[in-house]
Amino acid sequence: MDESLRELYQEVILDHSRHPRHFGPLEHATHNGEGHNPLCGDRVKVHLIVDAENHIADIRFEGRGCAISQASASLMTDMVMGRTVAEADTLMGGFLDLVKGEEAAHLPEDDMDRLNVMAGVSAFPMRVKCATLAWHTMKSALEAGEPAKSE
């Protein structure tokens, strides 16, 4: 198999896409976002609970999409869980650089290692949007003015 294809569809990605982490609705979410990729019609929802110290106490995602978008969403939820909103934002900046094939912003080595499974996307410019959908959705959820009301 061609190397770039092997890298794109490596086992970690397929595993995340087949068995997405933190998948489903989230009760008492403080922030909710919905993203749409008009190219393929895929939709994703991201729900978060942000606590008083601005930590992401919980996160879930819903929706159906290609292996790349599902894996990216699943990996994202894994990585931002427990971090502050600011840290999540930095992580997102690094991720966007990575999938666009640009030099990633300075991130801790651990984070780079984990995000690197998505680096293969940069060889497929038509697929970058698939990889970034969940991240943009999370960002818009976090930025959406007043947090959604919790019961």
Binding site: M1, D2, L5, L8, Y9, L14, L39, C40, G41, D42, R43, R64, G65, C66, A67, I68, F124, M126, R127, C130
Partner: protein, 404 residues
């Protein structure tokens, strides 16, 4: 009848993609151009080009003649009764928008209805949504049956005294269904309702006779007919054209302009404001001549044979579901593959040199009807071969191995 695909006419087909032989199965999105079209455009631009109409110099005369000749070629291709029933547009989308803006908008009020089908391309939906949003028109949807066909009689039920227009595609760009236009037109006309047909796919695969179909409007796009982008045509019955308000305003479409008055040119010039796509018109005509020269019936038979070969080949995969199996359908194969998203599939196929389209194909209403977010689509053209299908099948098997 034997037809050998003239692959040598299409230089792009010999370009390797990702180190593999290209299997271009995306002609329904846009067809490749034969060198006859490319050369006609280059020759015209190198020897005769100028702006059209009004000019008195030799190049203006030659360009005007070539442009008007292209109109005549389109008229003949669609078997329009009069050459002035052909408006040269900037594409299929513009033709349908022109009908919405110039014909229907002045005739429609709140509560009036437009009947259309759930298999329409967005270009035959959104212009009608405009009238819903702006003027309170109501859209009435004729359903698509499970096999991808529609029942002409359903139009009889959908049309009421409030119906002002029926909008329907000749051929679905997703399902490949060929709709019974003649029957639909007869039903609509019996109730005094005109019919606009999106012919962007239909004119490619069917031999169109607008007089026999008795359609009121028929829109086509050059680039799907192996011609250049940026040009298309709208056939409209003369009686309608005379009563339609202008579309874009500008040069070429006027009779006289003063400080406080404007009068308009007769159709079709009234609807062709500004400098038209002249070189493209020459290419468009060359493409139609090319198709006619090869033999439309022979092309259709060839495409359908390649489609049938593909359809039979994918039957071996119990994990693949074909969407659209209407009787008499044309050469488009859409499918959903279990456990494989269309975009992942298309990426892997591309690596095998197979160019397929993945997504909603600008037909989200249809996708919703079938409960799908997207499909993968292989569409066939006059240059398609069984080798292309074999590449597709090999690619599908490979994708299955990688993704599931």
């Amino acid at each position: 009848m034997s037809f050998t695909p003239p692959l040598h006419d299409f230089p792009i087909l010999s370009r390797p993609i990702n180190g593999k032989k290209l299997a271009y199965l995306d002609s329904a999105a846009s067809a490749q151009k034969p060198k006859q079209v490319l050369e006609a455009m280059t020759n015209f631009a190198s020897s005769s080009y100028s702006n059209v109409h009004r000019g008195v110099h030799k190049l203006a005369a030659e360009s005007t003649e070539a442009y008007e000749k292209a109109r005549g070629t389109v008229a003949k291709f669609l078997n329009a009764k009069h050459m002035d029933e052909i408006i040269l547009t900037h594409g299929g989308t513009e033709g349908l928008n022109l009908v919405s803006y110039s014909y229907l908008a002045p005739r429609i009020s709140a509560g009036d209805e437009i009947v259309l089908t759930k298999m329409e391309h967005h270009s035959n939906i959104v212009p009608w949504h405009f009238l819903r949003e702006r003027q309170g028109a109501k859209l009435k949807w004729v359903d698509v049956r499970e096999d991808g066909s529609i029942n002409a009689a359903a139009f009889g039920a959908a049309i009421t005294p409030k119906t002002k227009l029926v909008a329907v595609t000749h051929m679905s760009n997703v399902l490949g269904t060929i709709n019974p236009i003649k029957d639909i037109v007869a039903i609509a006309h019996a109730k005094g309702v005109p019919v606009v047909v999106d012919g962007c796919q239909g004119a490619v695969h069917e031999i169109v006779d607008v007089q026999d179909l008795d359609v009121d409007f028929y829109a086509i796009a050059s680039h799907k007919l192996y011609g250049p982008t940026g040009i298309g045509a709208l056939y409209a019955k003369r009686a309608h054209l005379k009563s339609m308000r202008p579309f874009n305003g500008g040069g070429e479409m006027i009779a006289e302009v003063t400080e406080d008055h404007v009068s308009y040119a007769e159709p079709p010039a009234r609807f062709e404001a500004g400098t038209p796509p002249i070189i493209e018109a020459v290419g468009f005509a060359a493409a139609l001549d090319y198709l006619t020269g090869l033999g439309r019936a022979a092309i259709k038979e060839h495409e359908n044979a390649v489609y049938a070969y593909a359809r039979d080949a994918v039957r071996q995969f119990n994990w693949l579901r074909v969407i659209g199996e209407a009787e008499g359908k044309g050469a488009i194969l859409s499918f959903e593959a279990e456990g494989m998203h269309a975009h992942d599939l298309a990426t892997i196929l591309d690596h095998e040199g197979v160019a397929c389209r993945a997504g909603h194909h600008c037909a989200q209403v249809l996708m919703d009807r079938f409960g799908l977010a997207s499909t993968t689509r292989a569409s066939f053209g006059l240059y398609s071969t069984r080798d292309d299908v074999d590449s597709l099948i090999a690619g599908l098997e490979k994708a299955r191995k990688i993704l599931t």
